[in-house]
C-alpha cells in the first residue's frame, strides 16, 4: 500500500509553486510533459533535469518526498531501460546466447528512463503534490469552460473529479485496513499463483465497492442537505489572479519549448563510441 500512499495527497507548504493559479499549473504540467518526452539530446536532458531540480527546490518539499512519487511507476522505468539495453542495437560489448548488450543500448536506456522520471516528477510536482484536488478541479473547470457552449456539463465534470480525488486517500486507507483485516483471517496477498491472488483481491474489492456505494449515497444526501443543486445559481469560485509569477513561468516554459524544438535538432550529435 505504501507505494501508492502519495496518490491524491497534497502537502501544504508556503512556496511559489503552491501559490500558482491552478489553470496555469495544469497548462505548465502539460507543457513540461511534452518537453520531457521531446528531450532527446543529452545536453537538453541535462537542462531539463536542472529545471526539474530547481522546481523541486521551489516547491519547498523535501527531496525524498518528491522522489517517492516515482515509486508507482518504477516498474515501467526499469522495463523501459531493460528493453533498450536488450534491443541489440549497436556494437555488442557483452553477448551471450541471443542477447547482445551494447554501450549504445545502455545509454539510450538510461536516457529513456531519465525522461520518464522527469515526466512523472514534473506532473506530480505540479498537480498532486502542491495542488489540492479542489483547486485542480477548479483549474480543469476554467480550462474547459469554453466547452460550455457545446453544452458539455463542465461544472458537473469538475465536481465529479474533485470528489473522486478527495476520496482517494480515504479509500486507500480503507483498502489498507481491509487487507490487514483479511490477512488476520488467513488470507495472503503476496504468495500463491495469480488465481489465488485474484481471489484474494475479491475479499478486498467487494467490501470496498459496497462501502463506496454507501459513501456515494451518504455524500449525495449530505450535498442535497447543503442545498447543492448543480451549477445553477452557484457562486463561482474566484480564480487566483494571474500575477508576474504565472507570466514568468509561462514565459520560461515558452523559451524552453523554443530551445527543445528549434535548437535541439541543430546540436551536434554526441558520438558515444569515441569516448
Amino acid at each position: 500500500m505504501a507505494s501508492i500512499s502519495l496518490l491524491g495527497k497534497t502537502f501544504v507548504a508556503d512556496s511559489l509553486l503552491h501559490k500558482l493559479n491552478s489553470s496555469v499549473k495544469l497548462v505548465a504540467a502539460i507543457i513540461l510533459m511534452v518537453l520531457s518526452l521531446m528531450s532527446q539530446h543529452p545536453l537538453i536532458l541535462l537542462l531539463m533535469s536542472l529545471v526539474t531540480l530547481a522546481l523541486i527546490k521551489l516547491s519547498k518539499l523535501p527531496f525524498s518526498l518528491v522522489m517517492r512519487s516515482i515509486k508507482p511507476v518504477i516498474f515501467i522505468i526499469i522495463f523501459a531501460f531493460v528493453v533498450h539495453v536488450l534491443s541489440g542495437q549497436g556494437e555488442a560489448i557483452v553477448s551471450f546466447w541471443i542477447i547482445n548488450i551494447s554501450l549504445e543500448g545502455i545509454v539510450t536506456g538510461a536516457l529513456t528512463a531519465l525522461r520518464i522520471t522527469l515526466l512523472v516528477i514534473n506532473t506530480s510536482l505540479f498537480l498532486t503534490l502542491t495542488t489540492p484536488p479542489t483547486e485542480l478541479a477548479h483549474g480543469v473547470e476554467s480550462l474547459l469552460s469554453p466547452l460550455r457552449h457545446l453544452h458539455f456539463p463542465v461544472h458537473e465534470f469538475a465536481m465529479m473529479m474533485s470528489i473522486a480525488l478527495r476520496f482517494v486517500p480515504t479509500l486507500l486507507e480503507e483498502a489498507g485496513k481491509l487487507m490487514k483485516a483479511q490477512s488476520s483471517r488467513g488470507a495472503s496477498y503476496d504468495t500463491g499463483n495469480i488465481f489465488k491472488k485474484l481471489r484474494g483481491m475479491v475479499s478486498i474489492l467487494v467490501p470496498l465497492f459496497v462501502s463506496s456505494f454507501r459513501r456515494a449515497e451518504d455524500l449525495a444526501t449530505a450535498m442535497e442537505a447543503r442545498c447543492y443543486q448543480g451549477e445553477v445559481g452557484r457562486t463561482r469560485r474566484k480564480s487566483k489572479p494571474l500575477t508576474w509569477r504565472e507570466y514568468s513561468l509561462l514565459g520560461f516554459l515558452a523559451v524552453l519549448l523554443v530551445v527543445v524544438i528549434v535548437i535541439q535538432p541543430r546540436l551536434p550529435q554526441v558520438n558515444w563510441f569515441s569516448l
Partner: protein, 604 residues
C-alpha cells in the same frame, strides 16, 4: 413567534405495502425557537427517517412538516428550508465534499449564491465558532473524527441556519470528542440561539436537552423533560434503551429509604451524589431498620455475584511483550512515535482491556500481536512462546491470534454468511471436517446459526458485527483481539456482543479488547491496561484503576459517570467499591458500605 419546527400527524412509508407498518407513524410535536430537543430510540425505530423529514430530504406521505412556518412539501421553499434547518450526519467521512476545511465550509453558502466576499467572512466566522481556524488548509483525511464532525457543523453554520439537526452525529466518535462536540452544541444553543434537534442513543447526551421524545416503531411513545423521562427506567428498557446507572441507583435509594417514588429523576451527577449522601446520613441518624436493607440485598446479591464473577485464569503466559517500540515514518514530514518501550504480559483465559485515547498507540500495539506489524528495534513479542521476530512463526501465530478491527462488519464480502465464515478456515487449509466443525461452533457462540444462508449485507448492524466475530472465531484462535467491540451499536446490540466475549473467556480463551471508551470494556475485563502516547501508564484490576481518577484524566480518558458518582460518595463512605457498572451492583455496593459503616459505629 412560529415554532422553528412543527410535525403535524406525520406518517411516512418506505414500503407502500399495506401490511407493513409505516416507518414514521402519526408523529406530532413542535419545537419552539432556541430549544433543544433530543429524540431517543433503538436502531430501527425510525429516528433517521424522522430527521430526513425535517429538511425536505424526505416528504411525508401524510400530515405536514413545517420549518419556520414553511411547508416542506412546498417545492419553492425547499432550499430556504434546508438553509434554515442544517443537518449533521453520522459518518464523519461521508459528508465532506471539498478537499480542504475552508473550502468545505464554503460549499453550502456557494450553493446559496452568496457573494464571494461574504462567503469568506462566513467561513472565518464559522471556523472561529467551531475552533477550526488553525486547521483551515487541512485535507479531510488529515482530520480526526471529532474534527470532521466539527467541520460538518461549521459547514452548516456558514449557511446561517436557525436550527441544526444532529442525526447520531456523535456515534462514531471517541468519548472525549463526543463530549467536546456536545460542549460546542450547547455553546451554539446558548450563545447563538440555535435550535437543536439531537437524535441519539447516548442517554447522557439526552440529559442535556430541554425536552426528550421517545421513539419506538415509528411512533412517539412519550415526551417530557429529561427528569420525567429518566424517572421510568423500566419503560426505557422495554424500548431497548437504558438509564444511566447513577440515576437508577439514586431512585432506588429514595425508594428504599424514603418510600417515595419521585416523578422527576435527578439527572446531575453531583446533585445525585449529594442527595444520596443526605438520605443515608438521615437514615443513620434515625437508625433505619437494617433488616429491610438485608432483604433488599438478598434480592440483589445473586445478580451481582454472577455479573461480577471474573474469569478464572491459569498461570500460563500467552503473550509476552518486552521493550516494544515503533515509529511510523511513511510521511517524512511527520514521523510518529506510536509505541515507546512497552512491556506487558497476558495470561490464558483473562479478558484484558486496553484503553487509551485516540492516537495512544493501542491499535499499533494490537497489530504487533498477530504479526501484521513485526517488532522493530530491540522489541520482542512472544505469543505462546513463539517469537514474532522470526518471520517463519507469523503464519502459525495468525492462526492462534484472531484480530478484529473497528467496524469489522465492513470486511464481510461473501454471498452468504456460511461462506464468509468459511473464508478464513479455507485460506488456512483446514480439512473439510475441521472446517465444518469450526464454522458451526463459531456460529453457535455468536448466535448467528440461524442466519447462515442469508447474505451478510442484508443483516442488521448488530448481526453483521456478530457474523464478523464468528468469521475470526472460525479459525478457532486461542486469543481474540477486538478493536472497539461495541462502537456504533445500540445498547441491546452492545450487550449481546459483550456477552459473547464474556463466554469466550469463560471457555478458556484469552480476550483482548481495545477501546477509547472506558465503560464499554471495563465491565467485563479482568485487568485494564491504560495507554497514553505510546506508553503504558498502568495495568491493573478495574477496581484499582478506577480508584484514581487522576490516572484516567492524565491519559485523556473519560471517567464513567457511574464511577464519578461512586467516587463522590466514597468520600463519606470509604468502604464503597467503585468498579461497578450496573445499577443493581451499585445499589448493592452502597447498601453494603452503609451497613458496614453503621455496623462499625455500633461496635465502636
Amino acid at each position: 413567534m412560529d415554532p422553528i419546527l412543527e410535525f403535524d400527524r406525520v406518517s411516512f412509508y418506505y414500503d407502500t405495502d399495506a401490511d407493513r407498518l409505516p416507518t414514521v407513524n402519526n408523529v406530532s410535536f413542535s419545537l419552539p425557537r432556541g430549544q433543544h430537543l433530543a429524540i431517543l430510540g433503538a436502531n430501527g425505530s425510525g429516528k433517521s427517517t424522522l430527521a430526513r423529514l425535517m429538511n425536505a430530504l424526505l416528504l411525508p406521505d401524510a400530515g405536514t412538516v413545517s420549518v419556520a412556518g414553511m411547508d416542506t412539501a412546498d417545492e419553492n421553499s425547499v432550499y430556504e428550508i434546508r438553509r434554515q434547518c442544517g443537518m449533521v450526519f453520522q459518518n464523519p467521512d461521508n459528508q465532506i465534499v471539498e478537499s480542504t476545511v475552508a473550502l468545505d465550509v464554503a460549499f453550502g453558502p456557494s450553493n446559496l449564491a452568496v457573494e464571494a466576499e461574504e462567503i469568506e467572512e462566513r467561513v472565518e466566522e464559522a471556523l472561529a465558532l467551531t475552533g477550526l481556524t488553525a486547521l483551515r488548509d487541512r485535507a479531510p483525511h488529515e482530520l480526526s473524527g471529532g474534527q470532521k464532525q466539527k467541520l460538518a457543523i461549521a459547514g452548516v453554520l456558514a449557511m446561517h441556519p436557525s436550527c441544526i439537526v444532529l442525526d447520531e452525529a456523535t456515534s462514531m466518535l471517541d468519548p472525549l470528542s463526543r463530549a467536546e462536540l456536545m460542549q460546542l452544541i450547547i455553546k451554539l444553543r446558548d450563545e447563538e440561539g440555535l435550535s437543536v434537534v439531537q437524535i441519539t442513543h447516548y442517554m447522557e447526551e439526552a440529559l442535556q436537552a430541554d425536552y426528550v421524545l421517545l421513539l419506538s416503531e415509528g411512533s412517539i411513545v412519550r415526551g417530557g423533560s429529561p427528569e420525567e423521562i429518566f424517572s421510568r427506567p423500566d419503560e426505557l428498557r422495554e424500548l431497548k434503551l437504558e438509564v444511566p446507572p447513577f440515576i437508577e441507583i439514586t431512585q432506588n435509594i429514595d425508594r428504599i429509604f424514603r418510600k417515595d417514588l419521585a416523578a422527576a429523576a435527578i439527572i446531575d451527577v453531583d446533585e445525585a451524589a449529594r442527595h444520596v449522601n443526605q438520605v443515608l446520613h438521615d437514615a443513620r441518624a434515625k437508625k433505619y431498620p437494617e433488616e429491610i436493607l438485608q432483604d433488599e440485598l438478598l434480592g440483589l446479591e445473586t445478580l451481582s455475584d454472577t455479573e461480577q464473577g471474573r474469569h478464572q485464569h491459569a498461570d500460563e503466559l500467552v503473550i509476552e511483550v518486552n521493550d516494544l517500540s515503533f515509529t511510523y515514518d511513511e510521511n517524512p514530514l511527520q514521523k510518529v512515535r506510536a509505541l515507546d518501550k512497552l512491556s506487558m504480559q497476558s495470561k490464558r483465559g483473562e479478558i484484558l482491556g486496553i484503553v487509551g485515547a485516540s492516537g495512544s498507540g493501542k491499535s499499533t500495539f494490537a497489530q504487533h500481536l498477530n504479526g501484521l506489524i513485526r517488532p522493530e528495534e530491540k522489541g520482542k513479542v512472544k505469543v505462546f512462546s513463539l517469537d514474532l521476530s522470526d518471520k517463519k512463526n507469523v503464519r502459525q501465530i495468525r492462526r492462534m491470534v484472531g484480530l478484529l478491527f473497528q467496524y469489522p462488519e465492513d470486511q464481510l464480502f461473501e454471498e452468504t454468511v456460511a461462506l464468509d465464515l468459511a473464508f478464513g478456515p479455507k485460506e488456512m487449509k483446514f480439512s473439510h471436517a475441521e472446517l465444518t466443525e469450526n464454522v458451526e461452533r463459531a456460529a453457535a457462540i455468536t448466535a448467528v446459526s440461524h442466519l447462515m444462508d442469508r447474505s451478510p449485507f442484508e443483516l442488521s448492524g448488530g448481526e453483521q458485527r456478530r457474523v464478523a466475530i464468528a468469521g475470526v472465531l472460525a479459525l478457532n484462535p486461542e486469543i481474540l483481539i477486538m478493536d472497539e467491540p461495541s462502537a456504533g451499536l445500540d445498547p441491546q446490540g452492545r450487550e449481546a456482543i459483550l456477552k459473547d466475549l464474556d463466554e469466550l473467556a469463560e471457555a478458556g480463551k484469552t480476550v483482548i479488547l481495545i477501546s477509547h471508551d472506558m465503560e464499554s470494556v471495563a465491565r467485563i475485563a479482568d485487568r485494564l491496561m491504560i495507554m497514553s502516547e505510546g506508553r503504558m501508564l498502568a495495568i491493573d484490576t478495574p477496581e484499582k484503576i478506577f480508584s484514581t481518577e487522576k490516572l484516567l484524566v492524565d491519559a485523556d480518558l473519560n471517567v464513567p459517570t457511574t464511577v464519578k458518582y461512586l467516587n463522590l460518595l466514597r468520600k463519606n463512605w470509604p468502604q464503597l467499591k467503585t468498579n461497578i457498572f450496573t445499577a443493581d451492583q451499585g445499589l448493592a455496593a452502597i447498601l453494603i458500605s452503609y451497613l458496614q459503616a453503621t455496623g462499625e459505629e455500633a461496635n465502636g
